[in-house]
Symmetry: C2
Subunit: 279 residues, 2 copies
């Protein structure tokens, strides 16, 4: 299995992110996609576009790639270096899988699952970009979710055999649900929003909508997928064994392309909002 993913400074490197973190993140973006497809990554190549940078910045980039190698047991095997207006890191990743989980396999009655809570990255970006207020421990967790994203590789590999469809949430939960709904020609009823601890309090304190933070964030690198109800217990056990937690947040309906929230304050349609390039 091969894939490419490009990190561009202006859209993917928020204030406060170091070169080392940016380099690691570029690899994390690929690892996350592989995790959600049940693909074990083996190696990667890096194409760099570099603006004027100090020798120390180059060293930090190298350290970030080394972090990624260690963290996910993968190898940087080649690449290309170029001059550019801004930092560009393109990662080409290679891996292996016995079966690839697609976006097309969800069917009516399947359970909708995610591998983690949502709302931290959107909160972290509000803190980093616009100085939103938060208590120290929430601020730290939210900022870390942005600066050091943790794709669920072990969880993804353990979960893959149970998934009927999946993708990672890099463009936000709402966007991911709409994409899965469209590709699988089904709908989703979300019965319980996976709101991360502290997100509601942060939202209230800053006059923000917790639901928007959960649904329209992005780059959580959490797996969003579907499993047969008869496999839910086994899937949850496999995820627990891999050190994670599987959240049941709803079910697949036959209403093609419709994503709806059936509980909580704002019952009704979930709009297809999230990150859009070149809008």
């Amino acid at each position: 299995v091969v894939k490419v993913d490009m990190l561009v400074e202006r859209t993917d490197v928020p204030p406060g992110m170091t070169y080392r973190q940016a380099a690691r993140k570029a690899v994390a973006m690929c690892v996350s996609d592989f995790a959600s497809k049940g693909v074990r990554p083996d190696s990667f190549l890096i194409s760099l576009g570099l603006g004027k940078l100090a020798q120390e910045d180059a060293r930090q980039l190298a350290l970030g790639f080394a972090d990624a190698e260690r963290e996910w047991g993968i190898h940087l095997v080649g690449g290309d270096t170029n001059e550019a207006d801004e930092l560009v890191i393109d990662c080409a990743m290679f891996g292996f899988a016995e079966k690839i989980v697609t976006r097309k396999g969800a069917s009516r009655g399947d359970t909708l699952v995610v591998t983690g809570p949502f709302g931290y990255t959107a909160s972290g970006l509000k803190i980093l970009f616009s100085g939103a207020k938060a208590d120290a421990s929430f601020a730290k967790a939210a900022k870390q979710s942005v600066l050091n994203p943790k794709p669920d590789l072990g969880v993804g590999l353990a979960l893959a055999q149970y998934l009927t469809s999946a993708m990672d949430s890099s463009d936000g939960l709402a966007r991911s649900l709409h994409t899965l709904a469209r590709e699988s020609q089904v709908g989703f009823e979300v019965t319980s929003l996976p709101i991360g601890p502290g997100v509601k309090k942060f939202a209230t304190a800053n006059g923000l909508s917790a639901e928007k933070l959960v649904l329209e964030g992005g780059e959580e690198y959490v797996i969003v997928g579907t499993v047969k109800p008869s496999k839910l217990a086994s899937a949850a056990a496999a995820v627990r064994k891999a050190g994670g937690r599987l959240l049941d947040i709803g079910r697949v309906t036959s209403k093609r392309g419709k994503v709806e929230l059936s509980s909580g304050g704002s019952k009704g349609p979930i709009e297809d909002e999230g990150w859009t390039h070149l809008r």
Copy 2:
């Protein structure tokens, strides 16, 4: 075999190059490397960084990738699209080879060969960038060498089994010779510079050095390599059969890292000049 190569607007897209040509060139850069290594390309992925562009520009990029697919019998199988300050096209290419030609295998007494004449791309850039004067047919050939580079894929695949070392000349002939010399721990004596027809006349008319145009150009996507003298005739025949021409331009010496010109106006050392990023 896998490789990545990144095209960045500011350094790789000269004035006069269309989006369609830029897209094709990004793939040509990878095909050229594969050709010089005897690797048959199979498929590629494209990561795009796009500035604000018109719908027609996007269509031209797609046409350029389609040109590349047809020209080299390869398939675009995936990619990623991003927003960036300038056009960035990163190509990740996959292919197969029974044996890979490295940069390390040249040994004393081997014949130094190239698969085409030099001087056109440097002349073309002078015409495109600084309006250097040339007669119409030379100007056309020189500009085409820049805008529509022609990597020697068929020639490379036919030649590979005879090569003891090789690389493509994307950073210029002098730089390629120094790289091969360093990696093979040998030297080169260039007995005959591969000056393209018309290059001397163009150089004289514009007060330029023909030798510099030949040695310090770059992006010719010509193969620079070494063969055993006993295999030279077979190698030349194989190249002819593939529609190309093999030029014998010198020999490998035991003077580690030394590249020298032993005939013509400026006998003596050939400096390690050529394209350097981030100078």
